[in-house]
């Protein structure tokens, strides 16, 4: 499911295990609409980005179609999260 929406996954460098997911340009709106309903405590921070959580992971959604997932154990866990978020 995630392959329909995800163009690229970048492991951000730093002490924390963070990943940046770049969505496919033509699927950004659909992808964000899908995940919005599943992210807990989603808040809009001054129109700059949206922040919430999914299971034990912090999710930051940017209007450019990039999503920052903070404190993800590994890429396998990220794939699991993305599949859950994008499933109908």
């Amino acid at each position: 499911m995630m392959d329909k929406y995800v163009k690229q996954v970048i492991r951000a460098c730093g002490k924390n295990a963070d990943y940046i997911v770049v969505l496919k340009m033509d699927a950004v709106i659909d992808a964000i609409n899908r995940i919005k309903g599943k992210i807990d405590n989603l808040i809009d921070l001054g129109g700059l980005y949206m922040k919430g959580s999914f299971e034990d992971v912090e999710v930051n959604v940017f209007r450019t179609g990039k999503i920052l997932f903070k404190n993800v154990k590994d890429e396998e866990r990220l794939r699991d999260i993305l599949n859950k978020l994008f499933s109908s």
Binding site: A12, C13, G14, K15, N16, D18, I20, L45, G46, L48, Y49, N60, F62, R63, T64, K66, L68, K70
Partner: protein, 412 residues
């Protein structure tokens, strides 16, 4: 003073929009944009003169060889070196590794010491750590003060009778700190220690004179100084270059290979010049493009570029200090730092800040910038945001970045 408005006309990419905004490119410490003169030079070479260099006797090969060697001359002029002291490599990383696996591998023995610092890019740490595993050499580190300056005073005490090399950055790619490499080389030479300068962040931005610095080796990348990627330079002092034998060899590096029948061996006679380190067909177009970039920089003037960047740094430092939650890393005095500003804002992760700026078409880098030890020292283990400037950046662009950062204050 630079005529930035005119300079910007040479950089076609600066006309484009990113995320609906005009591109503001502040990631110059990672790589620089290319002027049309460099782009055209490469295109012209491929469309009119492309052939393999050296030893070809046909006209195209001679033209290509002339262009390649002309590029070497321009690079030499840029850093006040002799043409025969300029080796074309892939980038600064390869240049440093070349020193490690040619000169150091052959000349250093178990127990010998290499001194580097804690503010280095990984490319000036990992080759020495790897070499320590191969050869049993010891790697020592010069410390960093809380203001981001190098603890130069530690160097005389770190040098022992076993110290063979000091390999140090000219400008920190994280803090922008300008190290007094001339003084460091002087200290090293008093104890007969060889020196290598990582000039990846200095040669593109300020006058660098290898004769004045007096170092034995100096490394830099082409892509950070308006040139194409995949080309860089290792400067080696002439008398030393003559004495070093290459590790990577083959076509173009030898004068002859003689079969000695009685001994049943092949004897190699190396070429004397820098070509002995450029085995195989090199990045010809890259070198020619880099030569054009050097010409461009010399025409504008490195002193002018340096002063322009200092003005941008001064302005940024002043503006950032008005944002309460911003933590700036590195020297606060613009005289001590190159055009690199590194910071974090409140509790925001550096990647969050960079992704927000990206929404406004502002390209900055976030993370560890391939320099983890210095991030441990400045207690920014998850990285920092780095805005790095060049000759085409403007004060208005800084205003745009500051505006976004001020909005971040409420949520940071």
């Amino acid at each position: 003073m630079l005529n930035v408005k005119e300079i910007r006309k040479d950089f076609p990419i600066l006309e484009r929009e990113v995320n609906g905004r005009k591109l503001i490119y502040f990631d110059n410490a990672a790589t620089s944009q290319k002027p049309i003169q460099v782009i055209n030079k490469i295109m012209e070479f491929y469309t009119k003169s492309y052939a393999n260099i050296h030893r070809g006797i046909h006209t195209l090969s001679q033209e290509a060889s002339e262009l390649y060697e002309e590029a070497r001359e321009n690079i030499a002029k840029l850093i006040n070196a002799k043409t025969k002291e300029i080796i074309f490599v892939k980038n600064a990383t390869e240049a440093i590794n070349m020193v490690a696996y040619t000169w150091a591998l052959r000349n250093l023995k178990k127990g010998d010491e290499v001194i580097t610092s804690l503010m280095e890019h990984h490319s000036n740490i990992t080759p020495w750590i790897t070499l320590s595993q191969i050869k049993g050499i010891k790697v020592k580190f010069i410390g960093v003060n809380s203001d981001g300056t190098l603890k130069t005073e530690e160097i005389p005490n770190l040098i022992t009778k076993n110290t063979r090399l000091i390999s140090i950055t000219h400008v920190s790619n994280v803090l922008g700190t300008i190290n007094d490499v001339k003084e460091i080389v002087k200290i090293a030479h008093e104890k007969d220690v060889t020196t290598l300068i990582d000039a990846a962040q200095s040669v593109p931005h300020m006058p660098v004179d290898v004769k004045d610095i007096d170092c034995e080796f100096l490394a830099f990348s082409g892509h950070k100084m308006l040139g194409p990627s995949g080309i860089g330079v290792l400067y080696v002092k002439e008398d030393l270059l003559k004495r070093i034998e290459p590790t990577i060899s083959g076509g173009g590096t030898i004068r002859n290979v003689k079969w000695i029948q009685d001994e049943e061996i092949c004897k190699i006679h190396w070429i004397e010049g820098p070509e002995k380190f450029e085995a195989g067909t090199p990045n010809i177009a890259g070198a020619i493009g880099l030569g054009e970039a050097a010409k461009y920089l010399m025409r504008i003037g490195l002193e002018n570029i340096m002063m322009h960047e200092k003005r941008l740094v001064e302005k940024t430092l002043k503006e950032l200090e008005n944002i309460k939650k911003v933590k700036i890393y590195g020297p606060r005095n613009a005289e001590k730092r190159a055009g690199i500003i590194t910071f974090n804002i409140g509790n925001l992760d550096p990647h969050q800040t960079a992704l927000i700026l990206d929404q406004y078409g502002i390209a900055v880098r976030s993370g560890l910038h391939c320099a983890e030890p210095i991030h441990q020292i400045i207690k920014a283990e998850n990285g920092s945001v780095r805005a790095s400037y060049y000759l085409y950046n403007t004060e208005e662009e800084i205003d745009e970045m500051i505006k976004v950062l001020m909005d971040l204050e409420d949520i940071a």
